[in-house]
Symmetry: C2
Subunit: 485 residues, 2 copies
């Protein structure tokens, strides 16, 4: 066995195979690729630099779209005094069990308890009521990047953590139509971030009333299929109607001179998306980073780096690439090239660039794709164009592979026994008809642990049968059903 093969074996040994134990595979990757680490704080992770760089690129991709559609960033207090809850008992009830309470400052008991934001409707709408006077103040389009806390019992790095990072958009509008347009516009922006940046195909639709955000008229969602066939709710956008503006008295002088309540929306994506990247694209050799958010897009690895010229040339190439790409070099002299190949493969870097004495002679480099393992010899003169083209191709290929996997695991089911059997055998996405009754929704969950992920939009609707999958009564809509994270 060659040294390289041994190195590879060692790495592979350290990552549990995903077929054997998917949750363990996930944890192995998160820790080994240094995306995150467990902390001594229950349910809270540390996002390490490699993982945080992904988050930064997601932020950039989303933020530029938020700004292009007129939203501005702001920052609101993290701690919220208890008395503000009086106005919104129903909304808060949904979060109450997961809310953390601050009771003491230093040695002294606080005169009033404060809770740590699980989401910021309470404080933001309180401020909106202060800021809005007339229709000229509308629309008010605000976004906040921040940390929130939901003290959940069961946690997992990125997917569900007690503290997580997210953005929450909050907007006020003159009319219902404008609020609805905004809600759908932000869902579309989330789709672009997921599909065009993370190469993660998503299904869009409405949540069932049971799964709605507490206080929303409608919740829209994007749902992605993970490598194990489970669904990940990857982002949500809520039309809040006038529910919050009535709770918080957000009124404005309308164009007719009368007083109206504004119409509000809110929408969010979070560090959960990083878990989605890992579970959408990863394989048994490690991560596959979608190129547009990859912390390193090209890793330069010198071969026989002790030989004359090699290191100098490798650094030159890294410098050259750095003007257009996120390029890095691994010039550590205590690891072999084989070791480095495996390490960067595990970290999912889309392109590996090898440069050795023979390549220098031939004025070429070797590029190796993380997604296909294709080895491509590239003349130096064509390097930049080739890298740009390959990064786009890798993005497209990751997207297509994920989409193909989703289509292959998408089932149309009209018989409940067949449905239960399928769900007991595997994690699958199912298209099914639903009567709209929550009893059926609950029954499906009780029988299979699967849930209605969403009601797709009109153009995605199919009429699989006339009757509800569960109860046999007349069906109202097609839904996607799956087990979910």
């Amino acid at each position: 066995m060659s040294k390289e093969q041994k190195n590879e074996q060692q790495f592979v040994k350290e990552i549990t195979s995903m077929e054997e134990n998917f949750p363990q595979w996930y944890t192995d990757i998160v820790l080994k690729a240094e995306m995150a680490d467990y902390s001594p704080v229950r349910g809270c992770m540390v996002i390490r630099p490699y993982g945080f760089a992904v988050w930064s690129h997601i932020q950039e991709a989303a933020d530029k779209r938020f700004k292009a559609t007129g939203h501005k960033n702001a920052y609101f207090p993290m701690l919220i005094p208890e008395h503000l809850l009086e106005k919104e008992a129903d909304h808060f009830e949904g979060f109450a069990p997961e809310v953390l309470w601050v009771t003491h400052g230093g040695d002294e008991e606080l005169p009033e308890r404060l809770f740590v934001r699980p989401t910021s409707e309470t404080i933001i709408n309180t401020m909106f009521a202060k800021w809005i006077t007339t229709y000229r103040d509308l629309p008010l389009l605000v976004n906040q990047w921040c940390n929130v806390i939901r003290w959940e019992k069961t946690t997992r790095p990125f997917l569900r953590t007690a503290e997580f990072l997210w953005q929450e958009g909050h907007t006020c509008h003159e009319t219902y139509d404008e609020a609805q347009k905004e809600t759908l516009q932000m869902l579309e922006i989330y789709r672009q971030v997921a599909e065009d940046e993370l190469a993660m195909p998503v299904l869009l639709g409405r949540k069932s009333p049971k799964e709605r955000f507490a206080g929303a008229d409608e919740t829209y969602t994007m749902e992605a299929m993970m490598h194990d066939g489970k669904a990940l709710q990857a982002g949500t956008s809520h039309n809040l109607g006038q529910n919050f503006s009535k709770m918080f008295d957000i009124e404005f002088q309308n164009r007719d001179g009368g007083i109206s309540n504004v119409w509000t929306t809110s929408w969010g994506i979070s560090t959960r998306l990083i878990g989605g990247i890992i579970m959408t694209h990863g394989d048994n050799r490690g991560l596959k980073m979608p190129p547009r958010v990859a912390p390193t897009q090209v890793i330069v690895i010198p071969v026989a780096q002790h030989k004359e010229e090699v290191l100098d040339k490798a650094y030159d190439i890294k410098e050259q690439l750095s003007s257009k790409f996120r390029a890095d070099i691994d010039a550590r002299d205590h690891y072999s090239p084989g070791w480095k190949f495996n390490e960067w493969e595990m970290k999912g870097v889309p392109l590996r660039l090898e440069i050795g004495p023979k390549d220098i002679e031939k004025e070429q480099v070797v590029l190796v794709r993380r997604d296909t393992h294709d080895k491509i010899f590239v003349p130096m003169a064509e390097l930049e164009d080739t890298v740009a083209r390959l990064l786009d191709e890798i993005h497209d290929n990751l997207f297509e592979m994920a989409k193909k996997r989703r289509e292959e695991n998408m089932h149309r089911v009209t018989d409940y026994e067949e449905f239960k059997k399928l769900m007991s055998e595997k994690n699958a996405f199912v298209k099914a008809m639903w009567c709209g009754d929550q009893d059926c929704e609950d029954q499906i969950k009780a029988d299979t642990a699967a849930t209605i992920r969403c009601l797709p939009f009109e153009h995605e609707q199919e009429k699989l049968s006339e009757t509800c999958l569960c109860c046999g009564k007349p069906a109202k809509t097609m839904v996607y059903v799956a087990k979910a994270y």
Copy 2:
């Protein structure tokens, strides 16, 4: 009185004059310019979009310098379990009275209390101990942008708030020398951010032992003079020696094969800098935004906008400028140009661009500088170059004006009675000699409310006399003394 004059009066009336009542002037500006707003949470402000945009530009300016010097961003939990404090009683003691405690999750009491980070040495060093094995892991250069909480009794928007946004860098090194070099490098980066980006001149130096960060071997600081003659501590960089690495057992295998403790540093700047911008540059007409962090660098205001061509042309110019500058347009039809001039002047936009029918005829625009009120007629063909040049000139002028003010209010004092008299009459910066004894430091504060801001570096030292300002014993160093925020 013309309508314009009336508008101006109205605005000026709403801002208290700084000579009359500086704190009220500050509050008026913060609120009227929509930089921040009071929130219903004690001591916590809302950073409104206009204020947050300034913070974003400060972040960019600092972050690119952090990255250029090898630092990577990460994220650590905000809540820290009480038991971690056992290791660092002395450090924590400095923060204990201001720390908030989380005691309940939902209705249940937590098994262990958690405190909200006032700074993150505790959690970050705990993780560092896990991550570092050998000298090959060093230096470890990490930065975090986050919120922190210090539950202070007296608060003021930006300057001192219970919750604030900041960055905290934390680094580990093989040797004392490297840690010291890092500490000073980051101080220099902070100086660049303050002077080259915010046009805010700063004095650099060491803190006295009494004013050191709890747990630091040395604390270095930059101190700026505000418009009222008081000092603002605008950023600090700490050489933590091996204090934290011993508390948290951060050990590594050194180059000789032995085991050593790492040497650590930490350093931070915060949203406090925004208060510094306001109080360094503002005047009785409002803010003056330093161009490099100004949310809007050029505001286009159409004059006689109902006339043909004017609005179209104004939008064209705004579009043209937007490719190189942060340009905006105020095309609201329910405010007069005069009203808009005053509003944007109050918001401190460095350049106002006026365009009306006559200007269109002459193929020119009018630029008005916020800092000098100079009115400049610019041919359309020269617009971009002129704007670029003027923004640089405004930056330089703001910096020079602030520096001049500081020099004019800098006093060399060797007689203690003279010192007390000066300090009772005004807020001044004083160069004085000090014996190094904390008793004198305390006496100065008790007598005048002024404090030793820093001990300047060697090349800034002057020998004003042989003896301490306060006690008359032999002096060891020159210090800067001032009242401070």
